[in-house]
Each structure stands twice: as structure tokens, then as C-alpha cells.
Symmetry: D2
Subunit: 332 residues, 4 copies
């Protein structure tokens, strides 16, 4: 079928490619004309702006947004104002699910369906397919089925859980009414933060397994290491992550990538350690807090990212200041 | 080759089966004679006790222990006292790696090699193979290679990380001197706790996505839910875990099992929620603490397990008592 | 001066008493007529409803709300609709500061000043005075100064930080524009949760100092206690909290109360351990999350309260289910 | 009475001064001869070394060690080897309580009593008195009573919890057999870390209350701030900590010090934010972990200190590397 795609970053561009490979026709637009022309050379139809894009689609039209969360709402309203009853507008980005709840209600009054799709798969989605979590009105989601089926992995080698007959085993799922797709994707990313942190903390402990070989200061500001003889290991992290990939309980796709990364550069020298967060981890915790659900692991993972960007600096200065004020402790 | 196996629980018995399928000869012993006779009918040689087992093995002998951590050290010393120089004793259980460091030094003086093998794979290892993290003297580990190679998955379908040529890509790895195997397995399990908790917390948040449909008390002891309209989703957890298996960033073997579990019984009615921990998570944190490595996610996961067994009860009573004493708050 | 007080629960009633002791005249109202008549016998002027209360106050009027957060906004709007330009409406309860930001803007257009006062001190405030964190327009806060000064502890024995000349050293502070008072009080309560949890966790560890005297199961589901000889203490928690009150670094008012509580009943038998939270801890974390500030201690304290009310039950069942599915582990 | 003091750092020297003010005679020794001569000018008897110190004390002798944890055990054994039955050796430093358990048993066989005293009060102890948590044999602790009573605050203005008649209300307590004193002090410091972190996190959130005034990037790597209008406060932290000192629930001695610190320098410019930990926080968590007691708040506080010293760097690089590998995310 035909689809308009607005936003041709890493995700949007690859999704267009995967759709065209499956035989769909894509009309594409982006603030950056080079992003458009690159895809035009691969078979897409370029559009100069929203009006142009809408004019190049047959009615009823389906337009997919793949934009940063901070601007999605504004663009969605611009497009909806130029759409007609029966058209479908899809937000496939990492927006707050509350926006989908609100915008869907707003657009529904004009007869326009708003569909929110949580899209996981990253830069590998072109090849592996994307895992799609979909929220929205039943009819609109049904209309989009050919697109969703093509973006998703489909009946991949791994096979579904035995007995599964719905689309979930092909990698896409209608999770519920507007907002449900982004809600599920939000929690997906919250979990992702937690899993990533679990690996990172564990590998950091393995890296420190040689602590007994270092000399430690014997002053009142330094905790002594009582049994250095138990910390004299020199662990090969690339090899360990590789062995875990085969038969262990913690095997995962993230581990596959991590093993490759450590094999390529065990010191991770090109990274500085300032870890971004793009919103979903925050919103996941807000949902946990509002509904009274404990989420200590997911929150620790998020707060570590904040701290990696030095947002804990003032708190740490305060701790040093308190230690000085009650105990005369100077910072080391 | 020939191997003695002591401890025929879920893990030990299946490992014997996998070894026999690969053509190895196993002499087996267990406190429970029925566990022994069951494996004898499958081709193993039964032994009445340690002395009998040692007498039925050709020298130099290799004996593998698969026992609860609390008794492994005692049994290891009993066996070692009846062994001869050149013999190899292996601990494949979930022991504290410090025991391996100590016992290896103790036995080395008698010419006996002590090898510690972290064994991951659970009840699925018979079929999938076990991921093996090995510590010990180079020669002894080399001698054990045929056994390790048979227990490990080998060149499974998943393939190693491109460029990998060592045994890690077949699922077993000599991690370092005595203790290194159990150290790596310890951290593996610490990570496992974190990953499990990440999924569990996230799914619990999804389960609470319908909180806006409930009526909430409007008293001073209850936090109000400001926007109930954003919490009216009824999420199908079995379907969601299934869709995440296909193309998402958080795909993993644990997720595969979880999807199946939720498909079989979405309410998990047969479980009460008292979560055991078997030691490695604790030791992982002790290593983190002693070496000064932050591990907030792994510690949160561990502490939650403690709390699931109500070990937080007195602390919670104290909190209620404080609230009463300063604010007159009665427990709801 | 004259003040109307609506909401005569534990906090509101005592505040009226403290104000009357200082010579102020209070017109009081509550849904419960007995709460009103009780204060009338102590010298307050009773009012049947909002209209009655407003009619009994001289203009410009000042009305203080001391109500559960869930209904404050609604009542505030009712009153404001009956007020006139120049009147002052004060919310002294535990409302979300965002409500104050919104309501103040809404009422300002009608010439009514909205003042938000965070009020700490609990049931002891009548005797000790209340610590007051105030947000609102400068003129209105200035008008309320006699009331604030009387509610606050004033120049109590403890004395201000040397060099302090403003009202903070008397226990009340104009923190900023509308919302600032409740924002500061919100964070105050977030800190309170953290401090309470720190004491509770520590005392729980002291209580478990006799763990080495218990027999522990030696199975694969139970982590062994390696050195029981180090856990044979029988600590008197009431005596310990008492000794900490004198000269230690962790002396505090909460500790004073805790020592008394434990002296009265060391087993805390009248409490069940279901710990309520009334909103501010949640909002503190939402502020932390939105502004990217790490708050792992405050979040742990909050999530523990959630878990004390068994909101972690489904997550824990999932963990047990995962353990069963990969390792055949039965719950103990 | 007479006391030998070894270790004249901040704590040891002030304790000698307080004891001399109470009329006790102190024989003092330190590796630094200037520390000795300074106290000699104030009335102490100087000693060149252990033998000299022991020779200047009447039998039975009492010697107090105030040394870094890393060397206390070694020095204790040196002194004990030169002592006689009936002598008392006291460790007042921040040693691991396990050392006291072990050393007390070792020295008891020679008739020497080992007493462990947890000493809280910091640089203020000289003036305020020290809170003392004591472990050791009943007779030896009784013998030391005059010294303990003089070091402790005694019947200070604050008064004991009503009904308290034992020494706890004067600031010293015999907590139990050898090790009990250091065990209780260990947990005291664990709690201290938690309380400090609660204040620090909360104040950091207050500091960020102006986040809505900053411009935020609108890219896929940055979480948007949905409601900047709620984050436009400019909070005076010195004033806020001052107001909390008067009547609030979170009043404490640490808060008193913090208010003074912020008044002196609101930016804390002389501190860098590398927060030391001296061991007790670590040991508190080890006790929690070994006895299965949840301590998420105390552990978060400890791990933050580790992270403040950049021990999380490798973990953070891993997180960035994972984000790059699955999503092509570049670090900002």
C-alpha cells in the first residue's frame, strides 16, 4: 500500500527502505532535502513539505511520523489540520503516550484516526524487522496491517511461542486504544535501561576483579581491602560475554551486541561515559510512581544515567561539605 | 573419557546424561540411592560412596561435584583426602569462589588439581548445552577439555561472534586461575537477578496500567491519582512479551521463557511470590562493595528478593511507628 | 488578626489552638460539626459553611485550607468564587505544588491572592510550633506575617544559625512565588522518607545481628551463612537509639521520637507494616526525574513503602515463575 | 583514672583533652612526635613508644587505640604481646567489628580484655561529648566506666528519653560482648550515609527547581521537559535549611551543620564532590547481605559515593557503547 513518511533519520529512512523492499510505495519528506533525495534514488517519491506529501497520496491517506518527541505533537497538529476524515496519522517515534491519548481524542472529532506505534529494533530493524507495539482505533490499525506486517520481522527463524496464532508472534501487536502502543513501548525502554545497567554493573565488577593487585592507602579516609588475595583475577571481558552467549541464562540480543563491541575494542576508548536518556525511562517511572508500583531497578538505571552526566555534582559536594563540617574530613 | 559425578540433582543428573550421550563413561554417586539407580538404567556406573566411586575410576581420576554450596567444601575435603597426586577434583556448583581459591591452594600441596566450573543453563542444559566458566590450573583444565566440550553447547546454530576462534564461542571458557570460574559465574548470576527484576518491574507497571479505572480513597493517607484518564489500559502481558521476542532490543532467552509462562497462566496462580536467592547475588555485591564498584541495580534486585520474603517487616513497622509518633498517622 | 480555617483534622485544629493562644481570632468550619463545636468551646467562632465563614470575617479576608490533597483544589475554587479582590486564600495542606501554580494564576485574574504554605511539625506543632515554607505574592505573604509568626516556633531555645536575621531562624520562610512553598515542603517530605528509611533499615540490620544463632537450611535454594560466629549479638534497640541521641552524628528529632517509641514497645506490636505515602514523596521524584536529578535514596524509600503494601506481589510471582522455568526451582 | 592513648589524630587528641578536663591522667603516644609534644604542653604525659607508654601506666593498665582501621589490628597485637593478665586494651576507632570478635578471643586466652568502642561525635566531641557504643567483657567495661562517662556527653541539656535510667541517656552504652560496640557503630555510620544522602539529594532537587528557565535541545537524545512553567523557582538553600531547623520533622544535628555550611558558602566552591567512605558503610551492607536484610537506601547512599569517585566510568562507557551498537546513538 501507500504510506507517507515524515522524518528520515536513522529510523525513518530504514523503515522506508524495508517497506519499499516489501513492495509498498513511500512518499517521503524531511527538513533535510538530502535525506529526501537519497531515498528518492532508492525508489521513494520525494515531497517538499506537508502539503506536497499529502497531495501525492491517494485518499484515504496514511502518514507516519518518525520525529524527535519534542516536536512530534506540533507537527502532528499541522498535518491533521490539512487532513480529511478517514485519513490516518501514525506516530512511530518515542513520544510520551499521553500525547497520543490527547491527540487521538482531538483528531477523532475531525474523523482522523491517530495511531501510536512503539518501534523497537534500532539500526538493525532494516535487516531484522521492527518489533511494533500499536495503539489506536481498531479499524485504523486494521487498515495499517500490510504496513505493520512488512515492518515487523514476520515469521522469522526464531518462531513464536508454541500455540501463538496472533500477530504478536510475527512481531507486531495491537495493544489497545490510543496511547497503548506508546505505553507498552515506554515500559519496553524502561526495561531496556534496567537490563543494560545489569550487564554494565556486572562487567564493571568483573573488571575490578584485579583490585587486590593495587596498593591501597592506609588512612582514615580509605576503606581497607581485607582480603586482597581474593581479587587477583584478570578477566577477559570479551571472552566472558562471548561464552555467556552460548547456553547461559543471561543470553540476549543485547549481550550479542556487547560481545561484539568488546571484541572490537575492549577498552571502549571511543566512549566517554555520558549516557543519554531519551524520555521513556523517565515516563516509565512516572507511571510506576503514579500507580504505586515499586520499580527500584528501573529507577536506579535511570538515575545512574543522570549521574553519568554529572547531575549529582552538587549533591556530592554537599556530602563532602557535611563530612568536613562534622568530622573535619578533607576530600582526598 | 571417564568422569565421576557426585550429586545427582536436577543439574548433576542431566549433565551425566549429556555426557553419556557424547560417549563418555560416568561413575555416579548420590546420598539418594534411587537417583543413582535411575542413571544406572541409562548406562551409568553406580557407586555406593566416595571410596567406591574412586575405586571405579582409572587413574588419574576426575571427579565432578554438583552439590549445594553449604556442603560442597566438606565433601571436597573428604574426597581429596582419598585422592592421589595427578587426580582432578571439580566443583561445578554454585559455591563461593573464595572456597575455590582456598581449596585449590590446599589441595595443590598434595598434587591434586581443583577446578571450579560455573555452570549455567538450568534444566534446559541437557538439551541446549551448558555455558561453562572455568577456573583452575592450566594443565588440569586442558585435561578436562573433552568433558567441557561435551557439556557446552558447541557450535550451536547461533554461531560465535565473527572472528572468535577460542572455546568461548562453543560455550566454555578457561577464565583464569582457581576461583576465576566461580567468580565469573557469580557475577553472571548477579546480572541474572538484575535482568529478571527489570522484566518483572516493567511487567508489573504494565499490569497496573488500568489503575485509573479504580476508585481511590480521598484521605490524607492516600496519594491522589491526578490523571486517571491516562491509566485505562488493559494490557495482555502474554501477547506483549511475545511481541518483544521478535525484533525488539530486549529480546532474550529469559523473555522467551517468560512469554511461554504467561501464555500458560497469565495470573501466575501457582506462585506465591517468595523469591529465593542462592548466594551468588549476595557474593556479587560483596565483591562490588569490597572493590568499590557501584552496583545499585544488582543490589536493588537482591534486596527485593529479601523483601519478598518479608525480611523488611520490622523496618516497615518502624516506619509506621514513626509516622504515628510525629503525625498521629494510623495505618490504613 | 482574624483568620478563617477550613478543615479541622489533627493539623487544622491544633493550628487554630496555637493561633488563639497567640491572640488571633479564628472562624472555623469543617464537614464534621463536632470538630467545629469542639473548637468553639475553646474560643473559636464556628461557621456552618463557606458562605457563613466568609460572612463572619472582616474584609479583606484571609482563609486557610487544611484539607486532604485530593479535595483541596475543588474547595479552593468554591471559596475563591465567593471571595472579592483583596482577599487571601491559603492552602496549608500537602497539595501538589503545581496546583498552587495553576490556582494562583487563575485567582490572580480576579484579584485574589493564593498563598501556598508547606506546614511541617505534625501533632507536635501545637507545642513546638510549625515549620512553614511559604509561596505566593509578596504583598499577601507580608499581610499574613502575624499569622505565620505565631504558627512558627519563633525564637525557640535552639537558636538560629549564627548570623541569621531573617524569618527562617524563627521557622517560617517566604520561599518564592506561588508554588514555591509547596515545592519546598514536597522536597522536605521526600527527604523525610529517606531519613526514616535510613533509620529503619539500620535498625532492622541491628535486629538481625543474632542471625548466627539460627539454624539455616542447607539446600540449593538457601544462601549459606559463612560465618555465623559474627552474628551472635542480641542488641537492645531502645537503648541503642537512646545512646545515639547523645553526641552522635545521627541525632535528630525523628530519632528522639523513635527512641521513645521503642522504649514503649520494642516489638512495635501494634503496627502491621503497611506504610502509607501521602503524595509528596511521589511528586519529589517526579520533579527529580523531570529535571534529570539523581535521587536513588529518595526513590528507594518511596518504592519500599509501595512494596510494604504488597504492590510488588505480581513482580515477585514473575521472578518465582522465571526461576521455575529456567531452573526448575520450586518456591520454598 | 589513668589511660594510655595511642593515635593522636583529630579524634584521639581531642578525646585526651576532654579526659584531662575531667581530671583523668593520660599517657600519650603517636608516630608523629609533634602530636605528642602538643598534648604534653596541655598536661599529658608523653611516651616515645609502646614499651615506654606501658611502663608509665600503673597496673592493671588501660590503653586506648585511636588509629586508622587498616593498621589497628597489627598495633593491637604488638601491644597485647607486651601486656599482662588484667590489662585492658580498647579500640575506639572505625575498625571492622569482626576484628574485635577475633582479637578479643585471641587476647582473652592471655587474660587481656579487649574492648571495642564505637565513637561518634567527630570534631565536635571535645565540646559536645562523644556518643559511645561499647562491646566487651562485663568486668572490663565496668572498670572503664569513669573514662566512658567523661568522654560521653553526660546529662546534657537535651535530657534522656523519659524513664531512662541507664547510661544510654548519658551517651554511652554497653551493647554486648566483644564486637557489639563496633557492630552498632558500623550500623550507625551506615545510617549516617543514608541520612546524608537524603538531604543531599533533596537539596539537589531544590537547586534544579529553575530547570524550566533553561533552553533544552530538541533532539532524539534529549528527554523533553514537558512543563517548564513548573520549574521556574530560584530557591535559597541556606534559608530553606535554616527554616527546616525550626519545628520541622527533618530537624537534626546534620541539618544544623548543613545550614551553617550553606550560609558560609552556598556554592560549596571549596569541595570537588569526590566523597570518601571509610569502611563502615561497606560493612553495614555486608551484614545486611549476609543476614538477608533489605537495605536499598543504605546501599544507594554507599554506591553514590563510589560513583562520585568515578568508579562507574567503565559501566557508563558500556552503556554508551550498547546504545551506539543497537541504535547508532552517538554520545552527546
Amino acid at each position: 500500500m501507500q504510506l507517507g513518511m515524515i522524518g528520515l533519520g536513522r529510523m525513518g529512512a530504514n523503515m522506508v527502505r524495508r517497506l519499499m523492499q516489501a513492495g509498498h510505495q513511500c512518499v517521503v519528506s524531511d527538513l533535510n532535502p538530502q535525506s529526501v533525495s537519497a531515498l528518492v534514488t532508492e525508489g521513494a517519491i520525494g515531497a517538499a513539505d506537508i502539503a506536497d506529501l499529502l497531495s501525492k497520496l491517494e485518499k484515504p491517506r496514511a502518514v507516519w511520523l518518525m520525529l524527535p518527541a519534542a516536536i512530534t505533537g506540533k507537527v502532528a497538529r499541522q498535518i491533521a489540520s490539512q487532513m480529511e476524515p478517514g485519513d490516518i496519522l501514525i506516530d512511530g517515534g518515542n513520544s510520551n503516550y499521553r500525547d497520543a491519548v490527547d491527540l487521538a481524542a482531538e483528531f477523532a472529532s475531525k474523523g482522523i484516526s491517530y495511531v501510536d506505534v512503539g518501534t523497537s529494533g534500532g539500526v538493525w530493524g532494516l535487516q531484522r524487522g521492527y518489533s511494533l507495539m500499536v495503539g489506536g482505533p481498531f479499524e485504523a490499525v486494521k487498515t495499517m496491517d500490510p504496513i505493520l506486517a512488512s515492518l515487523a520481522p514476520g515469521h522469522d527463524g526464531s518462531g513464536g511461542t508454541p500455540g501463538t496464532t496472533d500477530t504478536a508472534s510475527q512481531g507486531y501487536l495491537h495493544c489497545g486504544p490510543p496511547g497503548a502502543g506508546h505505553f507498552v513501548k515506554m515500559v519496553h525502554n524502561g526495561i531496556e535501561y534496567g537490563i543494560m545497567a545489569a550487564y554494565a554493573e556486572g562487567l564493571n565488577i568483573l573488571k575490578a576483579a584485579d583490585a587486590g593487585n593495587e596498593k591501597r592507602a592506609a588512612d582514615a579516609e580509605t576503606a581497607p581491602l581485607h582480603n586482597p588475595e581474593y581479587y587477583r583475577f584478570d578477566i577477559d571481558l570479551a571472552a566472558v560475554t562471548e561464552v555467556w552467549r552460548h547456553g547461559s541464562v543471561i543470553g540476549s540480543w543485547l549481550l550479542d551486541l556487547t560481545a561484539q563491541t568488546l571484541k572490537d575494542d575492549a577498552t571502549l576508548s571511543r566512549f566517554g561515559g555520558k549516557v543519554s536518556d531519551s524520555g521513556e525511562g523517565r515516563w516509565t517511572l512516572q507511571a510506576a510512581i503514579e500507580t504505586g508500583v515499586p520499580a527500584p531497578v528501573l529507577s536506579s538505571a535511570l538515575f545512574n544515567r543522570f549521574a553519568s552526566r554529572d547531575n549529582d555534582e552538587f549533591a556530592n559536594k554537599l556530602l563532602s561539605a557535611m563530612r568536613y563540617s562534622f568530622g573535619g574530613h578533607e576530600e582526598k
